[in-house]
């Protein structure tokens, strides 16, 4: 942004930004404040921006109604494995497509990219059949394998390929003269330089896995195997009515890692996508 704005214009711009922030900040604010309200206060009209009464027992009830700590762990370790796996697969595949000449590499890359065009709703039934055949239903394997070898990884491969294409060829040639083979060039030269792109891949892969909803409800059936997005739908009373304040308390805890990731790694994420020539 230009820094030579007049004070008046600056104030006006900041005012406009504050107004534009409302639609984005209000839902989060509403979620956090409602998680500590009694359920009767949540739908009060006009809505209260600040709770009239605080009820923090909602947070303890989350853990009483569901094996929430187990579900939290499920989401966390699945997201961690998916993130690590996707980084390995996408960096190697992206490097191969960008830097290694092999027959039909462009055509193969196009076929791989076509995977992005197929919605997960289309492939979910065949995938269910496949994992059923492998005896993996109601295990976490589908939630790990599908993202690592599916659309999220394809997008990550695309991002990594774009980064590696822009890497100066002379660096690799210098490494060849210095005595490095192909894998060592990848490992010691290309990969360390790809940190910004890898960072971006790690962030969006983690978030994608953390927020995964369709696959868990198809592949998982036991409460203790659930991941967080699926668990959030389970906070209902005996008649199936949503227990909003408890559900929002669970949602707030679910959103914390997402918010932390964005706050800590926002710069890395934007820089990573900028390096690849993609828009965030």
């Amino acid at each position: 942004m230009r820094t030579d704005l007049s004070p008046r214009l600056r104030v006006a711009l900041y005012g406009l930004m504050c107004v534009l922030l409302i639609p984005f900040v209000f839902p989060t604010w509403w979620m956090i404040t409602s998680s500590v309200k009694p359920i009767s206060d949540i739908f009060a009209f006009p809505p209260d921006l600040w709770p009239r009464r605080f009820d923090f027992s909602t947070y303890s009830r989350v853990f009483e109604l569901q094996p929430f700590a187990q579900q939290y762990w499920n989401s966390a370790y699945i997201a961690a494995i998916v993130t690590a796996g996707t980084m390995v697969v996408s960096s190697m595949a992206g490097y191969a497509f960008a830097r290694i000449k092999f027959p039909f590499s462009n055509a193969i890359f196009m076929i791989v990219l076509l995977g992005l065009l197929i919605p997960s709703e289309v492939t979910i039934v065949p995938l269910f059949q496949m994992f059923l055949g492998w005896g993996m239903i109601n295990t976490h394997w589908p939630l790990i394998l599908v993202p690592i070898f599916g659309a999220p990884s394809v997008f990550a491969t695309f991002v990594m390929r774009q980064f590696f294409i822009a890497l100066p060829g002379e660096l690799e040639e210098a490494a060849r003269v210095d005595g490095l083979g192909r894998f060592k060039i990848f490992w010691t030269i290309a990969l360390p330089l790809a940190k910004p792109a890898l960072g971006a891949v790690a962030i969006f892969t983690f978030l994608h896995s953390w927020n995964l909803y369709l696959e868990p409800i198809v592949f998982l059936s036991s409460t203790h195997m659930f991941t967080l997005p699926q668990a959030l739908t389970q906070f209902t009373d005996a008649y199936g009515g949503a227990m909003w304040n408890i559900q929002l308390a669970a949602a707030t805890m679910t959103a914390i890692p997402v918010l932390l990731v964005f706050i800590v790694a926002q710069k890395q994420f934007v820089e990573g996508l900028a390096h690849t020539g993609l828009k965030g």
């Binding site: 100066p168 002379e170 040639e173 210098a174 060849r176 003269v177 005595g179 490095l180 330089l193």
Partner: protein, 348 residues
């Protein structure tokens, strides 16, 4: 140190011939410069010596080994790239010791070699910095340091000064030449800058369109270019070339008749070459109309029309003529170059 020999080296991409059979022998410890216009194949030839390009045909020998099928790391060469190719995520010291590290050198040996190279190139105070924290000249020196630290048999330089400003280029030219004199390693240096070639080389290989036009010592090329291409390429400002006809002891060009030295027996269409500094101002000279006067301080460069030809003269004396005025100039008959009009080869 080792001699390098190129024998009938060819390069083709599919049907397109890039190099048409290059034969050059480079002596042990020699500093040879490959020079030519963009696209002439000089960088390709260097990359073939390095092992970064395959050889379509012919042999490349380093020392007594044919290296055609050897990987770059097995050729015992070191290369300095146009953009330096320093590893951005490594410090100067790590960059310089990187190849030794991957060849299994001990830490103490690597540290010792890096220190030795850093001392030579005045890099000792920069060893902990990253390439992004260095100036262009410092990066260039690190690239050279990375090359010398391994003590290779051959140094290869691919237009290493082209990213530097004019002043720094002159400084680095001297440093590279000084380094060669100190280490005595066989060096192959690619440039499109003929001044770099003239000032640095023991011998120059002039290339054009994938062929060697002439190989020789810088002043031999300057004084006796083998053909029109070399005559026009070597020297700045370029040699004046006038098309015309040899008739007896005269050369008839459009609008002007030029004298020839004694002993020229050839007749017929030819090209008459004379370097700008081989014109002198003389009352007995040929009339030339001045179009541009460029005083350089130590000399004056004058662009003028001689007959129907635009020629350039460089004079030690100061020229007071203004554009549009006529001066009289005389070519130095001992410094005239005659070329066959059909094939461009030297006649005299």
């Amino acid at each position: 140190m080792a001699p390098v020999s190129l024998q009938s080296v060819r390069k083709a991409y599919g049907e397109v011939q890039i190099l048409h059979g290059i034969d050059v022998d480079i002596a042990d410890g020699e500093f040879i410069v490959l020079v030519g216009p963009s696209g002439c194949g000089k960088s390709t030839l260097l990359r073939m010596i390095a092992g970064l390009e395959t050889i379509t045909n012919g042999d490349i020998r380093i020392g007594d080994r044919v290296v055609n099928d050897l990987e770059p790391k097995d050729r015992d060469i070191a290369m300095v790239f146009q953009n330096y190719a320093l590893y951005p995520h490594m410090t100067v010291a790590t960059n310089m010791g990187f190849s030794l590290e991957h060849r299994g050198g001990s830490k103490s040996e690597i540290a010792e070699r890096v220190k030795w190279a850093a001392d030579i190139l005045d890099l000792s105070h920069l060893l902990d910095r990253y390439p992004r924290q260095l100036s262009g000249g410092q990066r260039q020196r690190v690239a050279m340091g990375r090359a010398i630290v391994r003590n290779p048999q051959v140094f290869l330089f691919d237009e290493p000064l082209s990213n530097l400003d004019a002043k720094l280029r002159v400084v680095m030219r001297g440093e590279i030449k000084g380094l060669h004199q100190r280490l005595g390693v066989t060096t192959v240096y690619v440039t499109h800058d003929q001044i770099e070639a003239m000032t640095m080389a023991d011998r120059i290989v002039v290339m054009n369109a994938g062929r060697v036009e002439q190989v020789g010592a810088p002043l031999d090329l300057y004084d006796r270019p083998a053909n029109l291409f070399v005559a026009g390429f070597i020297g700045s400002p370029a040699m004046n070339i006038l098309g015309g006809t040899l008739e007896g002891n005269q050369f008839k060009a459009a609008g002007v008749t030029l004298p020839l030295p004694a002993g020229i027996t050839a007749t017929g269409p030819a090209s008459y070459g004379i370097r700008p500094e081989h014109f002198q101002i003389s009352p007995d000279g040929l009339p030339a109309t001045v179009s541009l006067v460029e005083p350089m301080g130590s000399e004056t460069q004058v662009t003028m029309t001689l007959g129907e030809h635009v020629v350039t003269g460089v004079f030690r004396e100061r020229v007071a003529a203004r554009p549009g005025e006529t001066i009289r100039i005389l070519p130095d008959l001992a410094a005239i170059h005659l070329f066959d009009a059909a094939n461009g080869q030297r006649i005299n």
